[in-house]
Symmetry: C2
Subunit: 269 residues, 2 copies
């Protein structure tokens, strides 16, 4: 049995100098370069695989410095500070000696404490009641690697400049199904199409500049979530002079908030 | 006339090796170490002062790796990637050779484009109609450097464990007034007291681990805002096993969204 395309995509080979060697994945190609969610997962994977890692990811920020070319890349992941139960990482991804991504990550050994969710899952029809979007004719490859079921906020019916809300709610999981882990949750955090396209019904060129993910879930919660769908919700707060932001959440079907995530995106026009 | 305490606090001296030398500020002391907002502003200032800087800040992520000791620190700010109109920075702050903060920043030359705010300023009484909180007996020094006027969500009346919402809305500006710039806006992004204290009426030990700021405003907008109050709003989305998140906005009195900001905070209990 061959590995899941996502596992193939994020595979890294340890190098003698302590860095990691990876390769962009044709299965997750975007319009220009690869799907950023998988690039982010590759960066995080250099921490997850690192022999000095302490604990699980709590925070990750990735900065997309340049479009990746199809081909190999190296990842350097360095523990900049290791405390008793927490660790801070600096990550750089390079192609041909040029930095294409910078990132920081924070990992920690978590303890059981009083907990509460203050962002309740929206009450929406479940994944079985929601029609799966047909992405077979999608213009980009990576969308075919996800089962996407839009509850609200699909692409606008016409690219006619009609302004509307920037909200999207959708059920999503890997296609074929794959048990959820920190790497796939990282990629899923970037699964929302650009808020500007919906807000303005205008498919202008865009590119994510920086994305931050806060992992509220631990490994046990991800394992319990397994291969079931997640509900994702994303909206923008401001579009201003070439950059807009996006704020998003991912819940599992049990209504547990697994991730809150934010990004700032370049747009042209 | 002496410099504003904030300008004294963020002052950096260029070193022969290209790094920057700064010093923690007694005027902005917190319970343990300095107010994180000023530490973040010091880190950003190493980019703002850097001779190779291109454009204005659009995104900043700071990771607080250890409590700073009172005293000097160095900041290394390195342009990891410079594109035609954008630039990616990696920043490290050190004390005694140990990393105490890591950060990444993204700067850009902005162009005028179609723009829209999708997070309207809450309709609240103005700063002149809102009573200024008396912080003269505050247990920490830095709160005395701000004019804070709470519209909603002040400290709970009793630290009795009563659960309530995690929302705070307040008018805020530097005290004494100081014209707004990217450095002060960075510090103001961290001005909200810990959401857990309000949510649970329990003053447990906390510490911000990572904070991300998206600057929607450009220098002209900050200059136009000047010394007037900003409306800040902050709430949590999840408290889970030792870490909670905070999502916040800052508007000027004209209702323009200047910043959206997020942080993840350690809590003990």
């Amino acid at each position: 049995m061959s590995a899941h395309p996502f596992d193939q995509a994020i595979a890294l080979a340890a190098q003698p100098d302590g860095n990691w060697l990876g390769h962009t994945s044709a299965a997750y190609a975007n319009m220009v370069g690869p799907f950023g969610g998988v690039t982010a997962a590759q960066a995080l994977n250099a921490v997850l695989q690192h022999p000095q890692r302490l604990g699980e990811p709590v925070a990750l920020t990735v900065n997309f410095a340049a479009a990746l070319a199809d081909g190999p890349f190296t990842v350097e992941a360095r523990p900049a500070r290791t405390n008793r139960s927490t660790q801070h990482w600096i990550i750089e991804m390079r192609q041909d000696g040029q930095t294409v991504l910078t990132a920081t990550a924070f990992t920690a050994l978590r303890r059981d404490t009083w907990s509460a969710d203050d962002e309740p899952m929206p009450q929406v029809p479940g994944p079985a009641e929601t029609r799966r979007a047909d992405m077979r004719n999608g213009r980009v490859e990576w969308v075919k690697r996800y089962d996407l079921r839009f509850v609200h906020g699909f692409f606008p019916p016409e690219w006619d400049g009609t302004e509307r809300d920037s909200l999207t709610q959708l059920w999503v999981r890997d296609e074929p199904p794959r048990p959820l882990d920190f790497a796939s949750l990282t990629a899923l955090s970037d699964v929302f199409f650009p808020r500007l396209w919906r807000r303005r019904a205008s498919m202008v060129p865009i590119g994510t500049v920086s994305m931050t993910i806060y992992f509220h879930a631990d490994a046990a919660q991800l394992q319990a979530t397994g291969t079931s769908h997640l509900l994702g919700q994303a909206r923008a707060q401001a579009f201003r002079n070439g950059f807009f932001d996006q704020t998003a959440q991912l819940w599992n079907e049990a209504g547990e908030l697994l991730v809150t995530t934010h990004q700032v995106v370049y747009y042209k026009e």
